[in-house]
């Protein structure tokens, strides 16, 4: 014990930016190893969106009016952008639960006593969640294709646009994991983080254009739906996928959904990252 080996020497503080990235990657790696050892969590995370795809397609398809059409095929193509977007936002709950669990078990104390970058614990967690979200999206896209979803069903599109749509979805998912991070830092138990991470997601994802055409909503509700950051991404994806559901709304985010989606997501990251990291710095288990 008394011999301090060379390897144990404490390195001097390096460049703060590269340290921050390196530390975040170490934490991300840790969270990815964790996820790979709890495969059931990934599997359960997939079952729900797959069920949504199947249920919405076969139960609602045919009775929904999209741009004057009640064709089940049109609804299917309309729906997928909504389900994809909803799925990425659900990563909020697992992100929040994971961080609350770390708090609960004293790991956050351990991290906070180490000479590591302040935001790295949360950034690393959100990176790992992003990887999981990407995997989920891939599986979900395959299922969507199997039930008959097609890009370019309504308007021409190309690979770049389709990839762009998935990029916007990942960015939205990443933004929402920062909301989850703040929830995780604010509640006492992982259970509370899971439930409080999910409850508010239902109104956010349902008072939107994800599952229905907002033009059938009462005006005040439609107003909320059209300005909902979540709707912007859904709308942007529909446009980029070339799927039906052109918005008749005058609201700016519906007219410029790609820009709106980008701005909203970046804004959410900026605000919630700042709040979460501040909370982390003064965290007490």
């Amino acid at each position: 014990m008394s011999t301090v080996s060379d390897s144990a020497r404490i390195a001097p503080a390096g460049n703060p930016v590269s340290q921050s990235i390196r530390d975040s990657m170490v934490v991300a790696q840790r969270n990815l190893i964790r996820m790979s050892r709890i495969p059931e969590m990934i599997i359960y995370g997939l079952i729900q969106p797959i069920m949504f795809v199947v249920l919405f397609t076969y139960v609602f398809g045919g009775s929904m009016q999209i741009g004057g059409s009640t064709s089940a095929t049109d609804y299917k193509n309309f729906l997928m952008a909504g389900i994809f977007a909803q799925t990425v936002t659900f990563a909020t709950a697992s992100s929040g639960a994971g961080i609350a669990d770390d708090m609960h078990k004293g790991l956050i104390d351990r991290f906070r006593s180490l000479p590591m970058a302040r935001g790295a614990v949360l950034t690393g967690r959100t990176f790992a969640d992003l990887v999981q979200t990407a995997l989920t999206l891939v599986v979900l896209a395959v299922v969507a294709l199997l039930v008959g979803w097609r890009v370019g069903s309504d308007a021409p599109t190309n690979a770049g646009k389709v990839l762009g749509a998935f990029g916007l979805l990942l960015l939205l998912g990443y933004a929402f994991t920062w909301i989850g991070a703040l929830i995780g830092m604010s509640v006492r138990t992982p259970e509370a983080a899971t439930s409080s991470g999910l409850i508010w997601l239902f109104p956010v994802t349902f008072i939107s254009n994800a599952f229905v055409d907002t033009s059938h909503m009462t005006p005040w509700l439609r107003h909320i739906a059209d300005w909902n950051p979540f709707s912007a991404t859904v709308q942007a994806c529909r446009e980029l996928f070339g799927n039906p559901g052109v918005s008749t709304s005058e609201a700016w985010p519906m007219q410029h959904p790609v820009w709106a989606s980008l701005i909203y997501s970046i804004l959410i990251i900026a605000v919630f990252r700042t709040l979460s990291v501040r909370k982390y710095r003064s965290a007490t288990a």
Binding site: S5, S7, G106
Partner: protein, 325 residues
Amino acid sequence: MPGAIYAEGLVKTFGDVRALDGVDLDVPEGTVLGLLGPNGAGKTTAVRCLTTLLRPDSGSAVVAGIDVLKHPDAVRRSIGLSGQFAAVDEYLTGRENLQMVGRLYQMRAKAAKARAAELLEQFDLADAADRPTKTYSGGMRRRLDLAAALVVSPPVMFMDEPTTGLDPRNRQLLWDVIKRLVSGGTTLLLTTQYLEEADHLAHDIAVVDHGRLIAQGTSDQLKARTGGERVEVVVHERDDIATASEVLRGFGKGETTVEDHTRKLTVPVTGGAKLLAEVIRELDTRGIEIDDIGLRRPTLDDVFLSLTGHVAEEAVTSNEEDVKK
């Protein structure tokens, strides 16, 4: 020159609770301070303030020669913390946990790997190194947690109730590790509820209650404050109690107490071992057969009781969880 851990007037309040109410500490380099007190006394809060986890409302602290409030990051590079819980990731293996901590202490990947292997060996965890830690026993997790705190062989260590909840064998194992660590020159602040543990490991003991230091000194000094020694004799034959009592009266500095059913006699004395030898000779001369005899000094339990008016274990009612918020 201030010690390796130095604090002056630390105050921390949580709502109405003054968790720390002006605590001064001075731990010379290479020594062990045992912070002793019941749950909710403020031990954990003190450790959290000194390890940069919590900002005190007022007061100052210097750890390893670095101002804790001004340069918390530099302090973090020089300390190791082992908390009340084994803060290890249960889905990572022991090796992965240690490597991660090494990397976060800013060691290079290769160095972190080598150091992890070294520590796993030292802490008798090599066989279990590549198993997820959720398969570890409580004692193994504690050892891993302690190993994580020692990744960079920090000059100053903080251990918050390191043996709480451990079985005697694991406690002994951890004690051995701590002793080796200190003999290597590490300065250690250790909190404990176990008076025996403080007695065993610490050079100096600070007793805290309700956020205040109520006494400080070596184990011997604290015991001396509580009052002197006493001789305890257990005689073999019940019939000898009266004679033995008479003998003890001759040596004692106070009243002899007799427990009939255990055949035990106790008398306060001064004069230590020399006097004890005389008592034994005298009892022998009178032909009294004894089962047990000894010079008893006050235990830290006695010390705690006399200082706080309550025994350590009884104070467990106050809620540490609430205080930490």
